[in-house]
């Protein structure tokens, strides 16, 4: 195991600055109630003018009257933490936000994929800089050691044999202890972590809170379960346009962006998407909802877009579109279709499920169905359009026609009876009872039909099916 710790020393400010054009104006984040506003964080220009966290807003304004004042937004910080965790999740499945101002990720198992550590480190730094976050980056054999070393180092990678030496040199006040504890150690004359580690355990346990010893143990590599980051289970993304989109062809581009994001999202979770909803927002009308359901979990962007576009063609959007939102909360595990390695496959060939998906998207969900038999004597109910389970039919003594008329019609042709009658009497318990005498009759031209009459009578006949 090898852990990287990324500390963000200016997290809140960077979160604000990355959304703005670069400028040389001092900027300060303010927090606290209205009567006691204080500075929460400052940018470099403001720090150069003497502003620092904890100052009262009056003092800060006296130092830099031209500064920009921004309200500190804890929710935005939390969102940024999620963003960075999701970003780190692309490199490692072991990502934790257990430390307040840092992200730790296990990198030992990712080295095979992302190259040796110097290459990997450069890539991490480059992407973080692109995202707009200043950072310090340290690698160590365990997450706590990495976090502690990141307090005093940047760009250091420590191996297990050198860990004790490196940790031992860390000043006590930077070792991650509570301020009171660090102060107490300092007054005991302990300057470095090595001296703390050399103290007898029972003495430390008696004189300090238990988390001090736990912290030291964790630094030395005792395995402590780490709460790992889990990517969110819901995909919800919205795109707003500067102008209204009037033509459905104009929606294809934003749709493609959203569906690609969705595909990347489910792929990162190693899942698929079975159902998602598109919401088209309008300025003057109620939003249009479009539910897209698939037969099986899918995660291929091209296929998802194919289905979404066919669905979009079939609906009428309420008006010009101002924004599109894509919400997916049904994200089941993805089971890739198993294929035969040696099976010849024509280019452009589809699996049967993909084919049914395409037909459903164009013709409608109910227009494509399977066939199954059901236990019921009433002919209309002896079949189901399902495909889920196909019970073996109880041995039918009587012949049944290959074609059934969904609505029986009066029989007009001249016929003679071949077989019959067969009494069908059933369904009195559900109010849809049937009492009929069925006959198999043949017309002069050889057509064989399935007809019925009222019980005990031989006509007039109703035509219910064809033997074909």
């Amino acid at each position: 195991m090898r852990w990287a710790c990324i500390v963000f020393p200016h997290f809140a400010v960077d979160g604000v600055l990355r959304q703005r054009h670069p400028s040389a104006r001092p900027l300060a984040l303010l927090t606290g109630p209205a009567h006691k506003r204080t500075v929460h964080a400052v940018n470099d220009e403001a720090a150069a003018r003497g502003l620092k966290p904890g100052q009262s807003v009056q003092a800060a304004q006296a130092l830099a009257s031209d500064a920009e004042w921004v309200e500190f937004d804890a929710a935005a910080v939390a969102r940024d933490r999620e963003l960075l965790a999701a970003w780190a999740y692309a490199f490692s499945s072991h990502v934790s936000l257990v430390f307040d101002d840092a992200v730790v990720l296990e990198v030992g198992q990712s080295l095979g994929l992302f190259g040796p550590w110097p290459v990997f480190e450069r890539r991490l730094r480059q992407e973080l800089t692109d995202l707009g976050f200043r950072h310090r980056l340290v690698a160590a054999p365990n997450a706590w050691a990495a976090r502690t070393l990141a307090n005093v180092h940047d760009g250091v990678a420590v191996d297990a044999p050198h860990l004790a030496t490196a940790l031992g040199r860390v000043p006590v006040e930077a070792a991650g202890f509570d301020a009171n504890v660090a102060h107490a150690f300092a007054r005991m004359g302990l300057k470095r972590l090595a001296q703390v580690a050399a103290l007898p355990r029972d003495a430390v346990a008696r004189r300090f809170p238990p988390d001090v010893l736990a912290w030291v143990d964790a630094l030395r590599g005792r395995v402590v379960p780490l709460p790992l980051y889990q990517p969110p289970v819901v995909f919800d993304r919205r795109m707003e346009f500067d102008h209204e989109i009037e033509l459905s062809s104009g929606l294809v581009f934003p749709l493609r962006r959203l569906v690609r994001d969705l595909a990347a999202f489910v792929r990162a979770r190693d899942g698929g998407v079975q159902r998602f909803r598109l919401v088209f927002e309008h300025d003057r009308h109620a939003p249009t909802h479009l539910d897209v359901g698939l037969l099986a979990p899918e995660r291929d962007a091209v296929r998802l877009l194919d289905v979404a576009r066919h669905r979009l063609e079939r609906i009428e959007v309420n008006g010009p579109v101002r924004a599109v939102r894509l919400v997916a909360d049904d994200l089941p595990p993805f089971v890739p279709p198993s294929g035969d390695l040696f099976e010849p496959h024509a280019p452009g060939a589809l699996t049967f499920d993909q084919l049914r998906e395409r037909l459903r998207a164009r013709l409608g969900d109910a227009q494509v169905h399977g066939l199954a038999t059901d236990f019921d004597h009433r002919p209309e109910r002896a079949w189901r359009p399902g495909r889920e389970r196909n019970e073996p039919l109880a041995a039918l003594a009587e012949a049944r026609p290959g074609w059934l008329l969904e609505q029986p019609v009066p029989l007009r042709a001249r016929v003679h009876v071949l077989v019959g009658p067969e009494r069908v009497e059933s369904g009195w318990w559900d109010g849809d009872d049937v009492r009929r005498d069925y006959y198999i009759v043949e017309a002069d031209d050889g057509q064989v039909m399935w007809v019925y009459a009222a019980p005990g009578e031989r006509g007039p006949f109703m035509l219910h099916g064809y033997f074909a």
Partner: protein, 208 residues
């Protein structure tokens, strides 16, 4: 004389049509399940990866019974069968009794245009063993599309059409006419051979 082509190859490629040519046996055969009919057809059954037409004067003279052995064989081999735009409800108990594995049957309901589109998609997809469709008023061009789609997707395309189109030319590789009273099937056209002069009797319906 640079363009000398071996006669054998010309004949083997079937670019030259010969009456009573021996059938080419590369593609797997698609027997109809009726030995008397298979015996007169040049491929020993349905022409593989092609469109075939079944013409009837009216519904219910045995057009399904002609197909059921084929459908049973395909679905038993887990090859899906799609029924596109049937005129009536395919009645599951009878299809089941005929040996068709219903798990591998899908029914598509659509209007005439939608059905043509769906049939072409199914044939082209290479996912289907057979596609049944009812293009009653289809143009020659539409049938040609279905024929090409059958070749592309290596699927068996079956088009059920009314008897009155028998005199119109058709791109289908095989055209059969099913007649009742007595029940028999007549080969109107089969690519690769002369159609036999006599019609082939079909077994009567199993009615009890």
């Amino acid at each position: 004389m640079g363009a000398v082509v071996a006669l054998d190859r010309l004949l083997a490629d079937r670019t030259v049509w010969r009456g009573n040519a021996p059938p080419r046996t590369e593609a797997p055969a698609q027997p109809t399940g009726f030995p008397a009919l298979d015996a007169v057809l040049p491929f020993g059954g349905w022409p593989p990866a092609s469109l075939s037409e079944v013409l009837t004067a009216c519904d219910g003279v045995g057009e399904l019974a002609l197909l059921w052995p084929t459908l049973a064989r395909l679905t038993a081999a887990r090859r899906p069968v799609v029924v596109v735009g049937p005129p009536y409800l395919p009645y599951a108990p009878a299809w089941h009794l005929a040996g068709v594995a219903l798990d591998h049957v899908a029914v598509v309901r659509a209007d005439e245009r939608g059905a043509l589109w769906a049939a072409e998609q199914c044939l082209r997809s290479s996912a289907c063993g057979a596609v049944l469709c009812w293009p009653a008023r289809a143009t020659d061009q539409a049938l040609r599309r279905l024929q090409v789609a059958s070749e592309t997707g290596q699927a068996l395309g079956i088009a059920f059409r009314p008897e009155r189109v028998a005199d119109n030319p058709s791109p289908a590789a095989l055209r059969l006419r099913v007649q009742g009273n007595p029940r028999r099937v007549q080969v109107l056209k089969c690519r690769g051979a002369n159609p036999p002069a006599h019609s082939i009797p079909l077994p009567p319906f199993a009615l009890s």
